[in-house]
Each structure stands twice: as structure tokens, then as C-alpha cells.
């Protein structure tokens, strides 16, 4: 199999700005070209747009705006893990020899239609993600005897880490008590337990080995890929306190990269809600069952940014189609020792965990120097 690496990335601040989706897309692509002026944009032979936006033909539109004429051009949607689905698709095009340099650009507006899954009637009127998150939280707390105060360490840590991320929507520290005192949205979820929808964009360029070596002296390689879809309805999940799709995805990704979970130095985890971070850590194998919160607490107390250095979805904001790409960019910056105050010591091997709709599908990527 051909080696595939990343030669540049671009990102916008995550905000509540009311901008057209095309402008949002363009912004991170401009930043990407600034970040690596070596790249000849005419060499880009595929453009994949990751979004839940209803606008059509965005990939040819983006291509026209940056004056390129790719072979392959289309949009990819899979709710919140559209971003990593696009990265895997780009990887495949290069690996199959159909493209050598693929631009992947993810973007979303704060009012994304991907925030509600109209189809899932098993949710009754409760189509907003907060309702599955509420059930997950109740289930997780009950199964492992976790209190609201214990769970609150997740947003406390992630908002703290987001303060070191210049593109994060959050720029404020919160205490455990702040989380507990924030508005109660359901019996088990408070406002500060939630990632927030926002406007933002993130882009990367993937390339074949030869082009990577020509265009950068700090390459980052994608060495592991794992994906799994278990269902679309969250009520079909085998458990409400464990992410089966994540477990299956990480197994494939680690196998492909010939690594174990203990080899991972830094990880981006899909913390759509507080409970998702410990659940994902356990499903990924970073922590034993029910021990995710202990791990998070220890990392927080020792100021170790290993998990969600950019502040996660809770601290950064969650522009659906851009999220998986923004997570990947954070891992690239970490591996390149370019993450400023967020830098994790000795970060050589990183992992991205991106999921959709109550973890009914998950993607896991392993990235290396």
C-alpha cells in the first residue's frame, strides 16, 4: 500500500459568525496555502468538501474560487464524522493511484442542519443530540457510580485547554461549581456539558509519498485507519455507557499501524458532551471500564494536555463537517512540536477519534512522524 502523508493544513477561528458556507470554506483553504507556500495548487487533483450544509456542488465551487481544476470533486456527509470520512476517502484515492494530492476542506455554519437527525423516530420528539447524551449520561453515572461533580472535570479540563488554542470558541476557565451551576437542560445534562454548534472551517492536503517529500520537511503520515458503523438509531446501541463502534474502529486502526493503545502519545477525542470523553477513553482502551474519569482527573491535575489538547469539541466548538479535520490538524501540530502552550511532551504518535450520532459510527486515525 502506498504511503500517504499530510503536507499542509489551514483552520479558521471557530465562532458564531453568520457567513456563507462558501466563504467559510475558502477561509481555511487560504490559511492552508499561507502555511505552506511551497505547494503548487495546480498539482491538487482532487477536492473533497466535508459538510452537512445543504448547498450543492461545493467542491467545484471551492475549486473555482481557488482557480484549480481537479479531477475528483464532491461533497461528503456523515453527520459529525464527515471530516474523517473525507480524510479516509482522500487516502484511498491516493493509495489507489487515482490522485496524488487531495485537498480536504470541512466547513459548517452555526445553524447546520446536521444537528438534528430527522429520521430517527426511536427518539420520538427528541431528535436533538442532547437527548441521547442525556440517556448516555444517566446510564454511565448509574453503571459506574459517577457523580455529576466527578463528570464535571471534563468541561473544566477542556475549557482550560481551549484557552491555549487561539482558534477555540471558548476563552474562559470554569470551575466544577460553574459546571454544576450552569443551566440544567435535562435531568442529566447542563449547558457546560455540551459542545456548541459554530461556524468554522478546517482544511488539510494529503499527498502521496513522493509529493510529501517534495513539499515538506516535517511530514506526518497516516498509518492507521479504522471505521465502523453499527446502526443509525441510537436505541440500537448494545450499551448506553460504552461505544461499540469506537472499540471496533480503534482495533482496526491500531492493527493497521502495528501499534497498541499505550503507544499513543496524544489523542483527540470526540467529546460532544461531557460523558463522551470518559466513555470514549474506555472504548478506545486508554482506561479500564468506569475509570475514564479517574484518568481525566489525573491529567487535569497534572496539567497534562494528552487528551484533547486543543480543548476538545466542548472547548473548541463543534462545526460538524470541520471537526474531524480540526482534530487531525491538532495532532499534526502536536507531532510537529508546533502546538505552542498546548504541546504534549514527546508527541510522536497521535490518534484521532471522530464519531457521529451517539457513536453509531466512529472513525479512528493513527498519525505518525
Amino acid at each position: 500500500m502506498k504511503k500517504v502523508g499530510i503536507i499542509s493544513y489551514g483552520i479558521t477561528p471557530f465562532s458564531k459568525e453568520d457567513q456563507k458556507i462558501e466563504s467559510v470554506l475558502l477561509k481555511s483553504v487560504k490559511n492552508l496555502f499561507e502555511n505552506n507556500p511551497n505547494i503548487n495548487r495546480n498539482d491538487i487533483d482532487a477536492v473533497l468538501v466535508s459538510t452537512n450544509n445543504n448547498s450543492k456542488y461545493l467542491s467545484p465551487i471551492l475549486s473555482e474560487m481557488i482557480e484549480i481544476h481537479p479531477k475528483i470533486a464532491h461533497s461528503i456527509e456523515s453527520l459529525c464524522n464527515s471530516g474523517t470520512n473525507s480524510i479516509v476517502s482522500a487516502y484511498s484515492y491516493i493509495s489507489a493511484g487515482l490522485a496524488d494530492m487531495v485537498l480536504i476542506s470541512g466547513a459548517e455554519r452555526y445553524d447546520s442542519p446536521g444537528q438534528i437527525l430527522e429520521w430517527d423516530n426511536s427518539r420520538g420528539e427528541y431528535k436533538h443530540p442532547i437527548f441521547w447524551a442525556s440517556i448516555f449520561t444517566k446510564s454511565y453515572k448509574r453503571e459506574f457510580s459517577i457523580s455529576d461533580e466527578e463528570l464535571a472535570v471534563v468541561p473544566v479540563k477542556n475549557h482550560k485547554q481551549a484557552k491555549e488554542n487561539p482558534n477555540a470558541m471558548s476563552n474562559k476557565n470554569f470551575s466544577i461549581q460553574d459546571v454544576i451551576n450552569s443551566k440544567k437542560l435535562t435531568d442529566d445534562i447542563r449547558l457546560l456539558d455540551c459542545s456548541r454548534p459554530c461556524t468554522g472551517s478546517a482544511s488539510v492536503i494529503l499527498a502521496s509519498e513522493e509529493i510529501v517529500r517534495k513539499n515538506t520537511d516535517a511530514p506526518v503520515w497516516i498509518t492507521g485507519i479504522g471505521q465502523k458503523t453499527t446502526s443509525a438509531s441510537f436505541t440500537k446501541n448494545t450499551s448506553f455507557s460504552f461505544m461499540e463502534s469506537t472499540k471496533l474502529a480503534v482495533e482496526s486502526a491500531l492493527k493497521m499501524s502495528n501499534k497498541t493503545i499505550s503507544d499513543i502519545d496524544v489523542a483527540e477525542i470526540h467529546d460532544a458532551f461531557s460523558v463522551c470523553e470518559p466513555m470514549a477513553l474506555e472504548s478506545l482502551g486508554f482506561a479500564n471500564l468506569g475509570k475514564g474519569i479517574d484518568m481525566i482527573k489525573e491529567l487535569h491535575e497534572t496539567n497534562n494536555f494528552k487528551i484533547n489538547p486543543r480543548g476538545g469539541l466542548i472547548g473548541s466548538g463543534h462545526p460538524l463537517g470541520a471537526t474531524g479535520i480540526a482534530q487531525t490538524i491538532e495532532i499534526i501540530q502536536q507531532i510537529q512540536s508546533n502546538a505552542m502552550n498546548r504541546q504534549v511532551d514527546n508527541a510522536k504518535i497521535g490518534l484521532v477519534h471522530n464519531m457521529s450520532a451517539a457513536a453509531t459510527s466512529s472513525t479512528v486515525l493513527v498519525l505518525e512522524k
Copy 2:
């Protein structure tokens, strides 16, 4: 590069039915499983949905409906050539070794939002495809001194051929005079010059060589792939009487399959409007410049179904996301000598031409026994 083939297909009648997009998708997948009962659906490890529908997460939803748990699952959109974009994506996953058996399902409703390109302000208020088609028609007629009556052979031939296609929306013969007498929509376009939006679905399964050999004794292989996007705005086209993106796509596809255009025995052409068929035949190299109509006239008079045997988009109907897949299915049936009264003699090598938005992007596939 790994060999990739097709092991089953399914299709629905194209109609004006008002059905939920999920039901439309499911219908052709059911037909696909009926058509090849050997297939173990649990072996499907990727599901790609091709559509312009605004519903989200359709691939996991389809997977749940047919009770499978794929690794890869997402939707792909590129207006009218979403279908072949999805096929190329599936090809890449298999060729890259990330999947062995990919289900691609395209579906659309008659009221698809992909029928209007909101972004293209160069069209002024004329965002409906009929306006670029009108400009193309005027330009083509003027450049090559073609009359309305001469151009009318395209719908006459394609409706005639559609009568032999049990899934086509059209079931009626029209004369040249019928076309000329049909409602004038613009100065240069009449009602019978147009393909019609409809509800319909088409699905195929692509697989790696080993799995193809296990699952069918009439394999059809994808041996050539070419794609090109020149812009998103049709006013950026270098010509209004020639399809530059089609020319570039066919060059790549023929090169990859080591064929010339004269090797092609049967072809599906993207005749969104009458003028598109001669223009595409010339851009693909089947006919010299300005001679597409002569070729179509001769085929029609000799009752040779070589071009658009299923009746093209004009005769079959045009359910955007399903079209490229339905075209591919026709070529499969032709190559398998399974096309009933539409059968082209000695059809061993076939070509699919699928495009979007005034040929601002094109896909060409070559299929072989």
C-alpha cells in the same frame, strides 16, 4: 492496481412517486439482493449513498434497514454526477485495500434540491439548468448550422429506445413534429428536449477480484476511470458547444483502460437536454465536430441502440443521484448480453459518460467483460 468488478445491481422504475428518500433507496437495494442471491450481505464493508437529497446520515440509515454494519458509510454529492463519483470512490476503497465489497446506492426524489444551483450568480435569475441548456443549444445550432428539426432526432431516438426499457419513465414514441410542436420553454428549448426530474434509485456492488470471482460467473470489470472539473459556473466554460471536461475525462479513462474510442461497443451519454447528446459524442471523440447529429440520425434510422440504449436521461428520466449508477447498470446488462430488446450486438466494451452543471464536471468510466 487491484482489479475491481461489479457483482450485482438493482434498480427501480423511474416515476413521479412521492416516496421518502429512505424507501426509494431501499427499493433498489432489495432488487440488487434478488438479482444475485449468492451475495452474503454481511460481507459488505462499505456503503456509499449518492444523492442530492438534504436528509443526513442516509448511509448508516440504509445500512440499518438492511441489517449490515459496514466500516465505511457516508453520502456523496456532486449534483448530477454524484453517481459515478460514488462508483469511483468505491473503486478507490477497494483498490486501496480498505474495503472488499462496497454497496453504492443512488436515489433521488422528483423534487430534488439538486435541480437548482443557488450559488451560480453568473446565471442571474436563471438558476435552472434549462437556461444553460438554452445557451448551449443556441450556440451549437449556430456554430454547426443545425436546425431545430435536426436536433429533434435526439428525443425521438431516446424515447423510442426507452420504450424497450421497463424502468424508463417514458413509454411513448414521438415524431420530429411532436418534438417541434411541444411546449416552447425558451427560444431554443422545447419540453421534449428536456430530461425530466423523477423519483428513482439504482444500486451496484463493487468488489475486489477474489470476491467477484466467488460471487458471479458473469463479472464486469471497471477498467477505465476519468474525471475532470473545469469550474462550477457554466459561464467559465471555454465553449458553449463543446464539453471540455468530458474531453479530458475520456482521455484519462481510455488511457487507463488502454483503449481507443473506436473500441467502445455501447455507451451511456449524459443527455440532460437534446443538445447534450451530439455535443458529448463530439467531445468524447465518437463523432467529428458538428457531426454528432449525423451519427445519431444514422443510428436511429438503422435502429442501432449503441448510444443510450436504455433511452438516456431524456427517455428514462433523471433522478440525479441515481443517474450515473443507472447508466452503469445499463452497460453491465449490455456486456452481460442481458439487455433484452435493447441489446446491442457484440457489446463487450462499454462506456459511461456522466456530468454535472453544464458539463463543468464530467466522469467517464470504461467497463469490460
